[in-house]
Amino acid sequence: MIPLTHHLILAAVLFCIGMAGVLVRRNALVVFMSIELMLNAANLTFLAFARDRADAAGHASAFFIIAVAAAEAAIGLAIVISVFRSRGTINMDELRTLRN
């Protein structure tokens, strides 16, 4: 059986990759994917602890997070499409109408 720490380290690495992606990448879809990666890191952490403790609450949490992530994806992609329609690009560096 794979020990708990391995799962946790994998989840932490995924979370950090996701976070770096949000902060560094400029393509809106890649940023969006990175956020999903962060949510999945949380899922993996919940599941790893839930298996370790044999606790159903952690397993249930992961399902709720998946459902919320799906709702978020629906609204997020709609907003990305409306950005693309209004300016023909989804590069975040070109979103600079609103600034000081």
Partner: protein, 521 residues
Amino acid sequence: MNIPSLTFLDFQPVLPALLLAVGGIVLLLTEVFQSAATINRAYQSMVALAFSAVAGAVAAATTLEPAREVFLGFGVSDPFSGAVTVLVCVGLGLSVLVSAGFLRHRNAERGEFYALLLFAGAGMSLLAMSNEFITLFINLEVMSVSTYALSAWLRRGTRPSEAGFKYFILGAFSAAILVYGASLLYGATGTTKLSELAGLLPAAVASNPGLTYLGAGLVAVGLAFKVAAVPFHMWTPDVYEGAPTPVSALMSAGVKATAFASLVRVFLPFAQDLGPNHAQLMTYAFAALALLTMVVGNLMALPQRNVKRMLAYSSVAHAGYLLLGVAALFARPTGGEGPLAVTPLLAGAEGAARQQTLQAILFYLLAYTVTSLGSFGALAALERREDEPRGTAWDLEKFAGLSQRKPGWALAMAAMMLSLGGIPPTVGFMGKLFIFRAAVDAGLVWLAVAGVLASAAGVYYYLRVVVYMYMRPSQDGVTVPERQWTTELALVLSTAAVVLLGVAPGTLSAWLGKASVLFSQ
């Protein structure tokens, strides 16, 4: 397998949220039956207003019932959550009134808009009651997903979609941080319920300090994004400027108020059950956050000539004053040692002091809700849609000579600016007085002094708007949009509230004092 038995007592506290959700569904369904020939959308704002009024009345009637757990401990019904729901419904109602005129002027009135407003309100009401991390996360997302869609509502030009996008990316980012923090806390303590967390924290800190601190820190960062505390405020000015004005109003009032409510609910166990050292650590952490937010918010607002952007930075500054209240709540004056123990309180008096601080926070939230909605409402009345794509609709010059063209609007805006600046006789002054007094009582004298100085700097940019309205001549050829009775009603209501509560805050603050009770084991 044991099936939980839920009774009417479980559902009764969520009645306001259910009413708001039903209102949203009614609006969505009736929108479907609109045919192109007989289109009539005048009823929609009234339906939304009626549902928020009824939900607010139900919440107000049941606010002072004793605190208890509902839904097997996943939620709590306490006077605090009731008061926050009332506050949300007040903000929702005013925002619906402002939206009606605003959307009609832009030919963008649809049932979905009000439905999204009501769904966001339902999420806010439930968020104030959430007492478990996953419940909290879901309700936070119900509120946020609705506001993402609302901020990108207008399709004209590049601004609204950009605002929606920036809000979505940073909102989803912060939610992911929050839920990862919650998963680490689950690992450290074995529970996601806040009521069980309280008892398990000391053992978790002893055996797994890294996991516990990191988890709590990430949850705090996630919530700090939502309340727009510096340095997590970068999205605020852009989003508030690009979003439709009534939506910016709701974001600055409702979203912020409920995020503060859950911040208090999540972190009070940490300050309460981990001993004085941790309480002091948390007080310092939140005091630093408050100081940074007050100073940066006010300094960034100073040079703004775009009034909507100025209001956005002012909303950051106000989050700072509220964080000052939160820091005071966590400060545990135990008397004797420590730099925090300037005014020693007896252990028995601690609960009373905490209740008073909570009352100050609630009063400030209410004061800021009516003032912010009034000021954004005046802005919405004044902006012309042809100026929006160029971003000049909110320029300070648009306010020049307003007192001659529209004396009523100028008076309302002046009252709002005085209240935001904290000048008597307005509700904003009373709110600041309560918050700073609570901070001084908690021994955070230096922070209260910093807060007073920061708000003195704030008076400059608030009064500049008043000076433009009353002392500058009107520009040639400036037209103002036609009057909308709904917007004017919202202005009258919020101005009356700002002045009356500023002159006679007694009844309200007494009620909020009774409502400042959090559920505890």
